[in-house]
């Protein structure tokens, strides 16, 4: 346990110090959201309609951005060997990594979303759904990404694998997430989509660590 918490603290500290993490996400997020109006033009209602899409797309991107560094760095500098030869079961390691990744990318995103929503003139009533959907959806992204990162670790075409594996799996999440928000905007009930998201993330918490751990053992070979 103490080992796990140490790992978590280290990963968070590294994220804060090296910039892949909250700062990057924040930066990208704000930037991306600034970029679309620049390109599309200022009409509020138009922006409002693509707001969910933009915010969710950014969520995925800022997640993607930081995946390849999740194990890559530890692998390169030999930390991974030591981590795996410790007392802690790999599944737990992976889960911790996923948690750290979520805390440093998902959470800042959830906190920032309302601000951006205001900047993009998203109607107030949709705000809650947006935050909820992100809160339920981003963990899935992190967990999927971890599996991808583990599988693609040390492999030829690593990042390629990562992108190819994560994107198709993540796209549905994206569609449900932004879909939920849009439903609220058009006055429909979004509970169904949110429930699905919640269910999927529970499933992911169980399945992904096992898959990722198996992949990791292969990687250090």
């Amino acid at each position: 346990m103490i080992g796990i918490s140490a790992l978590l603290r280290r990963d968070l500290r590294l994220a804060l110090r090296d910039g892949i993490g909250p700062w990057t996400v924040l930066g990208f997020f704000v930037i991306a959201v600034a970029v679309f109006p620049l390109g599309i033009g200022p009409e509020p209602q138009l922006l409002a309609r693509i707001a969910p899409g933009i915010i969710w797309a950014m969520a995925l991107l800022s997640a993607l951005l930081s995946f390849d560094s999740v194990f890559e760095a530890d692998y390169r500098d030999g930390s991974l060997d030591l981590l795996l030869s410790g007392r802690t079961p790999p599944e737990l390691l992976v889960l911790t990594k996923a948690l750290a990744h979520w805390l440093t990318t998902g959470v800042p995103l959830v906190c920032l979303a309302p601000v951006l929503a205001v900047l993009l003139h998203l109607p107030a009533e949709a705000m809650v759904t947006l935050v909820m959907s992100l809160l339920l959806g981003t963990p899935i992204l992190s967990l999927l990404g971890i599996v991808g990162a583990a599988i693609s670790l040390g492999a030829r075409h690593g990042t390629v694998l990562l992108a190819i594996m994560v994107l198709p799996l993540a796209a549905p999440v994206l569609i449900f997430g932004s879909g939920a928000v849009e439903m609220t905007m058009t006055g429909l009930a979004s509970d169904a989509s949110l429930l699905i998201l919640g269910g999927v993330s529970l499933g992911a918490v169980v399945v992904c660590p096992i898959a990722a751990a198996a992949a990791l053992r292969q990687a250090v070979e």
Binding site: A34, P37, L38, P42, L47, V118
Partner: protein
């Protein structure tokens, strides 16, 4: 001209700088506080409400000066950075480094007051018009400069990098300034600083200028303090003896 150059050179010796700034700081600070008090009084009580904007016009007395300062300080940071890069004078870097965060605060203040003002005026906290956007970008540039300044193990490298960024970012200043003329923005065009004199009523112009002056003096006071702190910090770092004095650029007086 030459004379000014010489005096500047002399002042720029860290030792002289510490003396002179030490002597002036209290007066400047006092003056700034005084002016601020007067300015606040004028803008809150001794000036009329706007016939269409009502009381909310009073936001202007914070908004506009902070906007001006935001732009001015950035220009200053860039200029100092340039001097540092060309002349390699450590004090210039220190001064630039000291100014940046203050400028960022002014810029943020302008954005916030603007947003507060925007809600009643335009019915929205934020619109993506050229001026607002370009001002937001200015804030990002400030952040970039600030972070860059201490992103490296070697103090000097951070300062150089930050200077480069500050200089490159200058193109944003005219964009902000003239955005209102180039694009048709929600934001109103210049009415004070423009050719053919201000087109704003004296009863509002006076407090505006008072506040502007107070802000400027306030900035100078803070700026001096921060610069002095940085010089002293460098001194102490040297005193800790982990390195020898010659490797702390800021301590050697340029001959």
């Amino acid at each position: 001209m030459v004379v000014i150059g010489q005096t500047l050179k002399r002042v720029a010796q860290p030792s002289h700088f510490m003396q002179i700034s030490g002597r002036w700081l209290p007066w400047i600070s006092a003056l700034a506080v005084g002016l601020l008090a007067v300015g606040v009084y004028f803008s809150l009580f001794a000036s009329p409400a706007d016939y269409q904007q009502g009381e909310s016009v009073r936001i202007m007395y914070v908004h506009v000066p902070s906007a001006w300062m935001g732009l001015f300080v950035y220009a200053l940071v860039a200029a100092l950075g340039g001097i540092g890069l060309i002349g390699g004078h450590p004090l210039a870097f220190a001064a630039a480094r000291a100014a940046a965060p203050i400028g960022a605060v002014f810029t943020a203040l302008c954005l916030i007051t603007g947003a507060l003002w925007g809600k009643p005026m335009w019915g929205a906290w934020w619109v993506w018009d050229a001026r607002l956007t370009s001002m937001l970008l200015l804030l990002f540039l400030y952040f970039g400069v600030i972070v860059l300044n201490d992103a490296f193990d070697t103090v000097r490298r951070g300062e150089k990098a930050a200077a480069v960024l500050a200089l490159v970012g200058c193109i944003n200043l005219p964009i902000i300034k003239f955005s209102v003329d180039w694009w048709n923005t929600l934001h109103q065009p210049s009415s004070v600083m423009k050719l053919g004199g201000p087109s704003i009523d004296g009863s509002m112009l006076v407090p505006l200028l008072l506040m502007a002056l107070a802000f400027k003096l306030g900035f100078f006071a803070l700026w001096l303090m921060r610069t002095r702190t940085l010089v002293l910090a460098a001194k102490t770092r040297a005193a800790q003896g982990r390195m020898d004095v010659s490797s702390v650029p800021i301590l050697e007086d340029a001959q």
